[in-house]
Symmetry: C2
Subunit: 728 residues, 2 copies
């Protein structure tokens, strides 16, 4: 094993160390007045209660799945013996990252509000570094888990046929992505339902029926709403990207092991993605320190402050990754480097396109706002129309990205000869896109922290100057949230495609093991070509096979059903919240006068329970469909399923996120005084659009990121079922 590998655990320890440092630094700040402490405490308790409840469910699910995997590994022999443990650690570390991230976020909000009493810069830095806790914990724990497993397996698994050892190691490690995926499923879906049930419920009764403003402490659901930002946008987003980060590295390692099997470059190809992620992490830490601003900064300047940190890291990783590839002595390192750069740029471009389609500074959102003039129906029609069209840009970008990434890495050889190298290129492009996740995730987690700080300031009735500062931070958070969402979806799609390629490798490995077919590991020779034809032919994963087509149709079906279920889940859970808020207004005297504190805890509990109940069925759908399709339609059906899910899920996720974001900002655009301003008929219509957009952008849309990755992961770990037990 090359010595340079040790950079990975070192980067991991750096990330975790700095996360601890930022956390301690944040904790040393004061939480402000008693009122501020009280509110922060309510939110913290609510978030903690939710997380405990969720982990209870997760533990049961993990116990069941681990049991099934143990049977597959030890009884049926269709998985390797390490796999149940890899699965568990993946889930554990992802859960841990969510726990720490949310802890930091909920401790930060009052402190950020208090810091804003001093200066805007103090507020920004504190909020951003609290967000960086989440970012660095996520990447640190992923790198820690990867390093540990790689060292253990490298020591434990004996050399067999040339090249087979690393294939086995990487295939085993990939299964820890399943643990992260399962954890992310519950965090994203549950968190997404929670946050929007609380938000929609709070708005429908509070804003519309009772006529009190947002974040008003008289609204019983307002604490639940603030808790929701933490469980949905911090913990959910974190778990989502934890999985993308881990899966992109692990899938690429496996693709590297396959592409360079039998050559002396195999080790280097396997650790290359890990090294790039490690260096990206170190650069992210450096980037975090660059973020600062001056008092009275405009939105543009604030955005620039964040941009300096993020962009510097991105530019440096371009340079450093070329150096890494050169040092590793990779053949065609220019091509592989090209793939990394393509991935990085694709991520940035997708983020930009999301901003274009959702920010009120641009035409699409303004046109949506204008269509409010003929009522709520037309604003909905135009939001959906524009949202659907907006899916074209990220899809187009990914099309270009995979064509170029494959092309650069394979020398634009799209025949089977270029296949192994090309797929490695797609994987490493995903790693490139996610390499500086430490800092991009910090900007994502910053959003809800600033939002909560604003809520805290509002509820604690801090002065207008402070409120203006938290508002400025919050508005910045909305912009980063939009680009962050686009980035999360884009990286999920590219990761899923890398996983798909890894799935085919897993099938090949299974063939070797169970069908006793010879596996030829010498790359780019007629031998591997023949083996490939054999593979295609054996499983008929081509488009003339009706099983493939049926699989694709089921994939599309899954996306539609899953989105519909999560939409309806929010509707139902919000209804319960509405009933509860109405009940409290009716039966607790003194709430509206502000003399009695409403029963916040009850609303938190209702959202928690509602989310837990509602996430079960969609989660089961996501976990079971790949297995059922494998049992009936075999490898061909599963291959189709994954392609159908990834392609349509990606488009649907973008559509939903962008339509929702655009409605949100169209409403804000009107509230800023355009088209009649607050209270006008246009504004009322825009509020309807915003409410419809809530589950679009924060529940169904982001949940699809999980679905597309989870479906592939679940297929990867149950590949033995498709190979050995399918009906057709």
């Amino acid at each position: 094993m090359p010595v340079i590998f040790w950079l990975v655990p070192i980067a991991s320890l750096f990330a975790l160390g700095f996360a601890y440092y930022f956390f301690k630094q944040m904790m040393s700040h004061d939480e402000g007045t008693d009122m501020m402490k009280n509110i922060a405490n309510h939110v913290r308790k609510g978030a903690g209660a939710y997380l405990r409840q969720q982990y209870k469910v997760v533990i049961i699910v993990f116990a069941i799945i681990t049991f099934i995997f143990a049977i597959m590994a030890y009884v049926l022999g269709i998985q390797n013996p390490w796999m149940p443990f890899a699965f568990l650690t993946g889930g554990f570390f992802s859960g841990l990252a969510g726990f720490f991230g949310m802890k930091a976020a909920t401790f930060a909000s009052a402190r950020v509000a208090h810091a804003c009493r001093t200066s805007l810069d103090a507020g920004l830095r504190l909020a951003f570094r609290s967000g960086a806790v989440m970012g660095l914990v996520v990447v640190g724990l992923v790198l820690l888990d990867i390093s540990a497993w790689f060292l253990v397996l490298n020591w434990a698994i004996p050399e067999a046929e040339p090249g087979l050892k690393l294939l086995t190691i990487t295939a085993t490690m990939l299964t820890f992505g399943m643990g992260a995926s399962t954890q992310a499923l519950f965090a994203r879906v549950g968190g997404g339902i929670y946050t929007k049930a609380a938000d929609v419920g709070a708005d429908l009764v509070g804003k519309i029926e009772a006529g009190i403003p947002e974040d008003d402490p008289r609204n019983p659901a307002t604490i639940a709403d603030n808790v929701g930002d933490n469980v949905g946008d911090v913990a959910g987003m974190g778990a989502d990207l934890f999985e993308s980060f881990a899966a992109s590295i692990l899938a690429t390692a496996l693709l590297g092991a396959a592409a360079f099997a039998g050559t002396d470059m195999q080790y280097n190809a396997v650790i290359a993605p890990m090294l790039i992620a490690a260096v990206g992490t170190l650069l992210s830490i450096a980037g975090v320190f660059m973020v600062r601003t001056r008092e009275g900064a405009t939105q543009k300047e604030l955005l620039k402050s964040l941009g300096i940190g993020v962009n510097t890291s991105a530019i440096l990783i371009v340079v450093f990754s070329l150096a890494i590839l050169y040092l590793l002595g990779m053949p065609n390192f220019w091509g592989i480097w090209g793939a990394i750069v393509v991935g990085l740029f694709a991520g940035i471009a997708i983020g930009q396109s999301t901003e274009y389609f959702t920010a009120s500074a641009f035409k699409p959102t303004q046109k949506i706002a204008e269509s409010a003039s003929t009522g709520p129906a037309t604003i909905i029609i135009s939001g959906i129309g524009t949202g659907l069209i907006s899916a074209a840009v990220p899809l187009g970008i990914i099309c270009v990205a995979i064509t170029l990434a494959f092309g650069f890495a394979s020398g634009f050889n799209f025949t089977d000869m270029g296949l192994n190298m090309g797929l490695y290129g797609i994987g490493i492009a995903a790693v490139g896109m996610l390499s500086t996740l430490g800092i991009t995730l910090a900007t994502d987690a910053y959003g809800p922290i600033a939002d909560n700080a604003g809520g805290n300031a509002e509820m604690s009735k801090l002065g207008e100057e402070v409120r203006n500062r938290t508002d400025a931070l919050d508005a910045l958070g909305n912009t980063t949230a939009a680009t962050g969402k686009g980035f999360a979806i884009g990286s999920a799609a590219l990761t899923a495609l890398a996983l798909l390629a890894a799935y085919f490798e897993e099938v090949k490995i299974m063939i070797v093991k169970f069908l006793d077919q010879p596996m030829m590991l010498i790359n780019n020779t007629p031998a591997i070509d023949a083996q490939f034809i054999d593979f295609i032919h054996h499983y008929d994963i081509h488009l003339m096979n009706p099983l493939v087509i049926v699989g694709i149709l089921i994939g599309v079906l899954s996306v539609f059903v899953f989105s519909g279920m999560t939409m309806n889940a929010v509707g139902r859970a919000a209804q319960k919240m509405v009933d509860e808020v109405r009940r409290q207004f009716r039966s607790i005297p003194g709430i509206m006068e502000g003399t009695t504190e409403p029963d916040y805890a009850r609303c938190v509990e209702i959202s928690t329970k509602g989310a837990q109940q509602e996430m079960m069925v969609p989660s089961l759908v996501a976990l079971l469909i790949p297995v059922v399709v494998a049992l009936i339609f075999g490898v061909a059906g599963v291959a189709g399923l994954l392609v159908g899910t990834i392609s349509s899920g990606f488009a649907m996720a973008i559509f939903m996120a962008n339509a929702g974001g655009a409605w949100d900002n169209a409403k804000k655009y009107i509230e800023e005084g355009n088209l009649g301003g607050k209270g006008s008929e246009n504004h009322k219509a825009a509020v309807v659009g915003d409410t419809v957009g809530d589950p679009f952008k924060d529940t169904s849309g982001p949940s699809l990121n999980i679905l597309i990755k989870l479906m592939v992961m679940a297929s990867v770990v149950t590949v033995g079922v498709a190979v050995s037990y399918s009906i057709f």
Copy 2:
């Protein structure tokens, strides 16, 4: 050529003869009062004006495309010399069918209203038989075109290698589907935009702003609204199903020619789908005569009256098709017959599922109606949620149908050995589903006729008894419209899958012609197996090829962009209508008092122009994308494109049609007195849902039927581009 083939032209002449008979019979009825005549005349003139305008555009487009095809055929040599002519006749006959169908519908409305003054039965029979004119003209002209071309080509094309003659004939004939497809594109997209621009515009100003009821003659847009029903639901729907009917028969003929190449069954396999369609047509005529009812019939009884006609035809075709296959002496005729039955049942099941998800008698729509209690936002959320989930059922049905159809025909051999027979099975399932189109289309066209009769009765202020009768007929029409829409989408999807299989055959034929590879036509031998592997390998149409994945992503992208564009088109065109209606209310004195007739013609003109303008960009997208993808990504990219378009387009079409239908009926459910009834807050929220649903169910949704078929047809006719000129 077997003598039994002559059944096809005979059935065609029967269909056209009875269409003429029903038309004459309808024309012999009286149009009623002067007021009734006047209104009918307005609608007729408006519809005629629209159609003339549309045909002007269509002629230009056809001239351009024919020119391009001529170059492909005579200069580049990548198409056969008959192809430009086949293209033209397809377009011409489809246009002719739309023209006659709409003529009949617009002549019928006042006459049906007048007949309702006599009895319910008189009204139903007249409306249904007027709808049958459309149904029979469509199937009659398709069969006529097919018979004529088959006779001509059979005479003109010489025998070459064994089996090659029929392959050439069927491949040539398939191209006339492109003409029908292009015509349908403009009819469906243009008609869809027209009808909803008028409807939404009329509702927004008339119902909501001015507070006058639907179909009130004081509303300047009301005539345009009634014209819209004719151009969208009669001409558009007719052109859509004209294409499905033609394409399913022609694709299956080609698949038959391929599956039975080199055997003495080839002729029989080619004419089998034609014969089934011919017999289904004769049975449809018989079915039309069975539809009658008694005075005071309930909705259920009325539905049963239609059901008797439709179901009798369906049951008889099951029996007759077995006889046909037996007479033709087809090998495995039980299996092929099984595929036909599967197709028929799938069509019925999809129609039923549409009814379940959209009729107010069932839970889904009732739940949507209930969610109106928390305002327009929640009714939109729950409609979208339920609409998305509802896509699962038809997709699931099609999955089962293609698995069984392929399985029965191939003896459940999903390897390459069963491929040719299995694909023939999928094609013949589509033919089975559409075999009794004559009568199912009659029930579809009946809907807008009844709707217009109701409008006429309302505007002419006929007595309440008459109005009750037309209302009963109209309500029945709404139910048939829902199932008809589901059937149209389902048959479009299955037809598109058959066309996809035909595309692969076309690619093979191209290989023979241009790449000078030998083509072995003996079925089910190692020779064809080897040739198949060669084919797969040459074009890499497997899921590990990134070009296939890129193609699939572009397919999904096309569906989203196309839907978004048509949604926005309705929004913009409706806005123009709103402005015009507002202008008339403002500037023409006496409108609201009913003393001055509004300027109906101006509204018709605005809708016409709006529709023509707005349909250009989406139409260009649909026509150009397959060619561009072929030029860049070649056969692999196109194969992916088609699969991506069909799978996601099918799901999206169902989602949109069902969500729209459910909102419509949720509103009607409330209007019937449930949940507060007309005028309540719930009702207002439901009206918003209904308005959003209008472009969903009548523009974007149905337009997707066209998109998925047109993309495949365009790829089929330009297959030479993908084979000879692609970059990758």
